[in-house]
Amino acid sequence: MTAYVGSRVPRVDSVDKVTGGAVYAVDLAMPGMLHGAVLRSPYPHAKIVSIDLSRARSAPGVKAVVTGKDFPLLFGSAIKDQPFLAIDRVRYVGEPVVAVAAESEVEAQEALDLIWVDYEELPAVVDMTAALDPDAPLVHPDLHTYKRGGHEIVPHTNINTLYRYSRGDIDAGFAAADLVVEGEYSAHALSHVALEVHTAIAEYDMGSGGYTLWVSTDRPFFLRNELAEGLGLPSTQVRLVVAQVGGSFGGKGVPIAEAIAVVLARHSGGRPVRVEFTREECLIASQLRVPAIMKLKTGVNRDGLMIARSAEVLWDSGAYTAYTVGVAIRGSQTIVGPYRIPNLQILSRQVYTNKAITGSYRGYGTTQVTWACETQMDEIAAQLNLDPVDVRLKNGYSEGDAYLNGQIMYSVGLTETIERTAAEIGWGSVEREPAPHLRRGKGIATMIKPTMTPSSSNVTINMEQDGRVLVICAAPEIGAGQDTVLAQMAADAIGIPLSDVSVPATDTALTPYNGPVASSRTTYHMGNAIVSAGAEIRDEILGLAADEFGIDAEELVLRDGSVYEVEGKLLITLKDLLAKFAGEGLSLTVGSRFSSASSPLLKADPGEEWMSSIFWMFCTQAAEIEVDIETGVIRVVKVAAAADVGKAINPMLVEQQIEGGVVMGLSNGILESFSIRDGRIENGSLADYKVATIQDLPQIVPIIVESVHEEAPYGAKGVGEPAAAATPPAIANALYDAIGVRIRDLPVTPEKVLAALAELSEQGRA
């Protein structure tokens, strides 16, 4: 029986956000603070021959000017390949070369004009396919000497990640299939466009040699550890304080503004230094979604059952690996989709190119592979003359099925997500021609997403003398309502009013370890830690009450901030109970750690446990679109979007994620693209990188599907990522339904639509 879990309670950050009272890293200022600016490489690949800083050093207000030679350290979580500032060469347009700190931001920006860098251009590799060429210039010729984790690389090439997976007998599978469908698909680079730009303030402590940073991030401990590792410091010598985060979407987990702030702080005599990226810097020199070229081949029987799939995926990490290695590996697996396919072969390679760094993007590779998988599903349906919904239902996972690695899948709401979205969109009926130049169609797409496994979350719950509770954890509020959901679970786990629960800000010196607020993992992992700690605090209180009143603790319950006997008689309020300790003082503290590592749910074929996920998420979307056959412009009319979330802790917040995911997916799929020439982004400004506005909004019907997960806190899994992945293929499949045009390369642009229509009519099939 829960008072808050399952309810549409208003978010706990509501008042702050509607009054302008929410404080983000960009809003922070400290006494004595300096401002940073960065001089960036104009070339995709070049040697730094010399740098003339003399005029900059004496410019008004300038306090520090730092180059890579002054700070020749590297960082990088999977491969330590990235300098804080370029050292002897630059590897992408926009790479930081010189950092300047000055008394004011404009003085720092103006000082950049006084710096002269002499470059010697080197041959650049700016295309990921070309990067595979044996004669291609090497972005990192010394890759094999870099400190790195255990994944496979191919030395003396641009291949920084190699992953192979196979199961069953792929050749026999294709041989046995009635039909083999093949295609090549591509997903393009995207910017997260979190409205709050990358910002960090860093302060160097000359006594201890450590740093404190005020940052905007979704993964404080990962970021802290990566910075500390790069700086050669013990992890606790770097402290991160996180304010409200103005959106992340996977883009704020690696050192970006933080790297520059640290470099400048080190050279600013102890004064804090603030580095705020401009939007242009965010677009060209932070992180982008990892572009991918995906060759997919599926062997299928006439009745629609898939029996073999081979995939060859090429990923583009840009100039440094940052957070892309996991994307290339984990993302590649999910190209199988939520389907039972016995014979599999996956080859995944990721290459360096002399382009902007890429990384995790709301789905960790799933938005890219879902595009390929779900487009091909419809191609299979079309070639077999089967209903796209039926083909998915036929092959989709059900409760108790085994995943690729033998893990038994529990909490599988896939079928319900498909059936309910199809019903909501009115599958099977379309008003085809609402006007002479318009055509309508409907399409569906589904997806599967694992969560980072294993991972852990710690929480400390403090109950103060007045009965109020602090849920002390490192789960920054990045916009998805983390604080609210965690507070709801804490309130119910303990038995107190929601208004008595606070979730203070993250400070790695004070809040215990948490994995990232990413991978849709927070509700589940931090929730489990909170449920456990909350129960302990509750038991402690009931123990105090039991002692106080001489009643067995088993006969007592804590509910809504008061202790009751089980039959219902009010014994004492929590506040009054705690007040009895006023003399000696009291606060109750319980710490709890939850890790998914040893769960029996992860059991799988020997050696393959690492592929298991503590929970699986499923999301299906059905879209109705209207396409203008004269201009190629697609208007998305309606999207029915269903997510299997296990249990909705707060249905309003789940809707926010589903709706938000659809808006982002729509924007990603048909509006956003970079124009890149010779490795240089030409449209590095919001004037020409277009993101969906409210005028692009379709009717969105969010559908919450709940399924049972035995180990989840109140049954809740996750929801943040899945909704952005299914939208582009649902739209593209609807386009095919409308006009018979198949687009395989994202984004789906009006030009491509018209070109495809023209080709169709040339082939006489229009």
Binding site: E110, V633, D688, T693, Q695, L754
Partner: protein
């Protein structure tokens, strides 16, 4: 944050002082109207004027008023005011339409009609609409007052016949004759139309007593180095009854007159397609605005 570099700043209270300042200032001096182009250009570094002359203290440069034979729109009139003006909607509907899809509402509340004309972007939203309504720019400079049709004001991308000390003071639009109709259509990267135009088309027609097309004008944006009139296309319409066939032929001709480039926003080939499609839609809109129907 994006910040402006320092500049010599002036806010003259009269037109004469503004002109004197511009005459005396270095060649890179710029006038500031709404700021929605200039401030953006200064922040991106596309322009680094040493001197900025803010015109907004000059009182007589704003406002929409009826004059003999037409309406006069002060150069500093906000685009949003052009959009909602009943006078403009009634007499120059295509101009009101063009104003309504320029940028976004909080930007339109700052942008000025004079600033848009002076900026002379090939993608100008208002340019083609002003051209089809036979708008005339009233200009004051060191040599006194002159008038020039907006159509001939444009010389090249970002450049006009204005001298560096010339200031557009107002735009005059003649009263439309009976049977007049106009429309403006644009396509931006987002379907909602508030983006830099990939292509834009403005059309005006005057329908005679039998419904035949008399005077007509077609002007295109983002389809050449300047907003321009598609005169060969217009010639195909004169004296014709407005039917789908006739309009389609004119639209196809307009596509032929277009000289689009390929850039990061669109290819020349797509723009050529849009020239035809948007011209046709603008023509249909103009005919309907004149109170007639396009025969099938």
């Amino acid at each position: 944050m994006k910040r402006l570099r320092a500049f010599d700043y002036h806010e003259p209270p009269t037109l004469a002082e503004a002109i004197d300042l511009l005459v005396a200032a270095p060649d890179d001096a710029r006038v500031l109207a709404g700021g929605t182009d200039l401030i953006v250009d200064m922040k991106t570094g596309r322009m680094r004027p040493s001197t900025v002359v803010n015109l907004k203290r000059i009182p007589e440069l704003s406002g929409i008023e009826e004059i003999v034979g037409g309406i006069r729109i002060g150069a500093l009139t906000k685009v949003t005011d052009v959009e909602v003006s009943l006078l403009v909607q009634e007499r120059c509907p295509g101009l009101a339409e063009a104003a309504s899809i320029l940028a976004s509402p909080p930007v339109r509340a700052l942008a000025t009609i004079g600033g848009n004309v002076g900026r002379a972007s090939p993608a100008s939203d208002l340019g083609p609409a002003l051209i089809v309504h036979q708008a005339v720019a009233n200009i004051q400079g060191r040599d006194g007052v002159r008038v020039e049709p907006v159509e001939t004001l444009y010389v090249g991308p970002g450049s006009t016949t204005l001298a560096s000390s010339d200031i557009i003071t107002s735009i005059t639009l003649p009263d439309p004759p009976p049977g007049f109709g106009s429309a403006h259509v644009k396509l931006g990267k987002r379907g909602s139309g508030t983006d830099i135009a990939l292509a834009g088309a403005s059309a005006s027609v005057v329908l005679g007593d039998r419904g035949q097309i008399g005077d007509c004008r077609i002007a295109l944006a983002s389809l050449g180095p300047i907003p321009f009139r598609a005169k060969a296309s217009e010639a195909l319409l004169k004296t014709e009854m407005p039917s789908e066939t006739v309009l389609a032929a004119a639209a196809a001709r307009a596509a032929g007159e277009a000289r689009p480039i390929s850039d990061m926003r669109a290819t020349a080939s797509y723009r050529t397609t849009l020239a035809r499609v948007l011209t046709l839609r603008a023509l249909r809109g103009a005919v309907e605005s004149a109170g007639a129907e396009v025969a099938v």
